[in-house]
């Protein structure tokens, strides 16, 4: 527990205040410790990967960031604002957006309306203005419409605007999730397995997209992904979780050679001869 907590916070490239910062986050469900002493620093426009075996607590970390769960210990800062304990909707309004591992679209709404719904977060017109359709409301709706169409265009799904979100193929649903998240005008974007279930082509496309997003939207990105190739190529910094504990942080090269990471993914010596052959050099003795 304390070993994980004492790990240095991820060293960020920029000296300015980070876009997203977590300190010593902990959460347990009953007796099960889901996340223990999790710390992370995400610089402005940074791209950090969060990896770990299944059940390591990656999505739980996302749920802590987005207010679905409240940490029992620790704090989360989005820019200068402390966001732990806030409602998910308030956190989204503060500038933290996410996508979901198991896609959660507004299935019966059109693709366009999915994005417009999210862009509506920045609308100021209340119920009465909406019902009276005041000029201010109409101008706002027009702005939301333009913005939403543009986002769809940027993600290459504008031709689907009128279709039901549910009817989209899987890859496009993932893109729509990203478009919807971007429509809330976030400072930080959390992507939960954006290329899960995609083929090589789609993955390549998505990789270019994620890189482009950062520049286009000046958004910092935290990425959960099981596709190691993607993570290693994209992320300047990687945090590895196992059983809720941070077992390694650093750049791709450092992570790849970290004995604890290899152990978490592939098991201990007696389990796999293959592993031994592949990474005998990197294996540190006495890790167990």
């Amino acid at each position: 527990m304390s070993a994980a907590a004492s790990l240095p916070a991820a060293a960020s490239a920029s000296a300015a205040s980070p876009a997203l910062e977590a300190n010593d986050l902990s959460l347990s469900f009953g007796g099960l410790v889901a996340v223990d002493g999790f710390s992370l620093t995400l610089a402005e426009k940074g791209l950090v990967g969060l990896i770990g075996p299944n059940g390591a607590g990656k999505t739980t970390v996302f749920n802590l960031f987005t207010g679905v769960y409240r940490p029992v210990r620790g704090e989360i800062r989005l820019g200068d604002q402390r966001i732990d304990g806030m409602k998910p909707s308030a956190i989204a309004a503060a500038g933290l957006a996410r996508t979901f591992q198991n896609i959660r679209l507004f299935g019966n709404l059109s693709v366009l309306d999915n994005v417009r719904t999210a862009a509506g977060l920045r609308a100021r017109s209340g119920l009465f203005r909406s019902l009276l359709r005041t000029p201010m409301y109409l101008a706002e709706e027009q702005a939301i419409l333009e913005r939403s169409l543009e986002l769809l265009d940027m993600l290459g799904i504008a031709h689907r605007a009128g279709e039901r979100a549910q009817s989209l193929p899987y890859g496009e649903q993932r893109k729509l999730e990203i478009a919807r998240a971007l429509a809330t005008e976030p400072k930080v974007l959390l992507l939960d397995e954006p290329v899960a279930g995609m083929n090589a082509n789609e993955k390549r496309e998505m990789r270019a997209l994620i890189q482009g997003l950062r520049d286009s939207f000046e958004v910092a990105i935290l990425l959960i992904e099981h596709d190691m190739g993607l993570v290693m190529e994209l992320c300047e910094h990687i945090t590895v979780l196992d059983h809720g504990v941070t077992i390694a942080t650093g750049n791709a090269a450092k992570i790849q050679s970290d004995p604890r990471v290899i152990e978490a993914y592939l098991g201990t010596t007696e389990d796999t001869a293959v592993v031994a052959a592949a990474s005998a050099a990197a294996r540190a003795p006495g890790a167990e």
Partner: protein
């Protein structure tokens, strides 16, 4: 447009895009109000020309259709848009109806000495009635707030049970009130002294019958315009998003608790007005029994059949389900089995209702008709 091209524009936020309104205040008012004005003209037309032409029986059917549309369209806001399954809608009508009946009956006595109709079109009595509509809306909206609160913690069947319980509680409370006071007693008691005398289980008789086709369809217009405008606005999309996926809705910044409460309050407000129209109809003794569970189910069926979230679909279902029993009076014994059967069939064949979330002009049939027209 590729990502690179969009680079420069992509950062532009919604707030930076809002341009100065392109239309002047006058044009804006016209754009905002024309559907309402049109609705009022239609209401006037129905009242002045249609009603006399079709005779009192069918005039009453037209009037009942209007009330059904008000009730069903208001329920559609909660059930259809918000996906919160409420089966106590008649309870809100009851709360509103009784509040307004209390105001018009005892108010008339205080003002004019008798509960009879007073004044002509938009005369004193009509104004009192319209005040009753407003009061009904406000009282029902307060009840909506009360019932909306559990919706923050409950969903599906559990919420349905709470709303059902609410309707029953209101019914029982009203049935426990005292007899309607005579004008002499009421004048002596004053307005505050009569709140407990709403007729009890015998019903509230002698309510002045201010409900006319004109007023009914003016309120139909208001409810329908509000429901439709809500649906196509950001606020309405937030409500639809709550229905579709609550977790995702929160994640894009929608305060789901607030959205649900607002939906309940707005829906109950209009239901209260619907109840007022119902209470002041000619030939009814307002009875809590009539606005009980059965009535709630009737309204739910209109929404489910028409399409959860379809404004036009619900209007059509309300009209059809009001006309049908009148046309087939001789089969009235079979009304409930037929209702139940129709509901089961629709749920199997088209679980989203006849229109689903679509409006009339979004449907395949409509497009085909348009195409046929263009071809001809």
């Amino acid at each position: 447009m590729t990502l690179d091209q969009a680079n420069a524009r992509g950062r532009k936020r919604v707030s930076e895009r809002i341009t100065e309104p392109r239309i002047g205040a006058g044009a804006a008012a016209v754009a905002s109000l024309w559907p309402v004005v049109l609705g009022i003209l239609i209401a006037w037309f129905l009242q002045q020309w249609v009603a006399p032409a079709i005779g009192p029986f069918y005039a009453k059917v037209v009037l009942d259709i209007g009330i059904a549309i008000v009730a069903a369209s208001s329920l559609n806001i909660v059930n259809g848009f918000g996906g919160q399954f409420s089966i106590g809608h008649a309870g809100f009508m009851m709360v509103g109806g009784y509040a307004a009946a209390w105001l018009t009956y005892y108010g008339s006595i205080q003002l004019w000495g008798s509960p009879a109709l007073h004044g002509g079109f938009l005369g004193g009595g009509d104004l009192l009635f319209l005040c009753g509509c407003l009061l009904a809306g406000i009282v029902a909206a307060a009840a909506g707030l009360l019932v909306g609160l559990p919706s923050l913690r409950l969903r599906g069947d559990y919420l349905a049970i709470v709303t059902l319980g609410f309707g029953e509680i209101i019914r029982v409370l009203i049935q426990r009130t005292g007899d309607v006071m005579s004008p002499v007693d009421a004048q002596a008691a004053g307005m505050a002294g009569t709140i407990g005398n709403l007729g009890g289980s015998l019903g509230f008789g002698g309510i002045p019958t201010y409900t006319r086709i004109f007023y009914v369809y003016v309120f139909v217009t208001i409810v329908v315009v509000c429901a439709y405008r809500l649906k196509i606005s950001s606020r309405g999309r937030a409500l639809l998003a709550v229905r579709e996926n609550e977790v995702a809705a929160e994640a894009v910044g929608i305060n789901t608790a607030r959205v649900k409460i607002v939906a309940f309050v707005l829906s109950a407000f209009f239901a209260g007005i619907g109840g007022t129209l119902f209470a002041h109809e000619l030939g009814t003794t307002l009875n809590a029994q009539e606005l009980g569970f059965q009535k709630s189910i009737d309204i739910v069926i209109m929404v489910v059949l028409g399409g959860m979230g379809s404004v036009t679909g619900v209007i059509m279902a309300a009209a059809i389900l009001t006309v049908m029993p009148e046309l087939f009076r001789e089969f009235s014994d079979y009304r409930m089995p037929i209702y139940a059967l129709a509901l089961i069939i629709v749920m199997i064949v088209r679980p989203q209702g006849l229109f689903g979330i679509k409006e009339l002009w979004d449907t395949q049939l409509w497009r085909r008709i348009q195409k046929a027209k263009d071809g001809a």
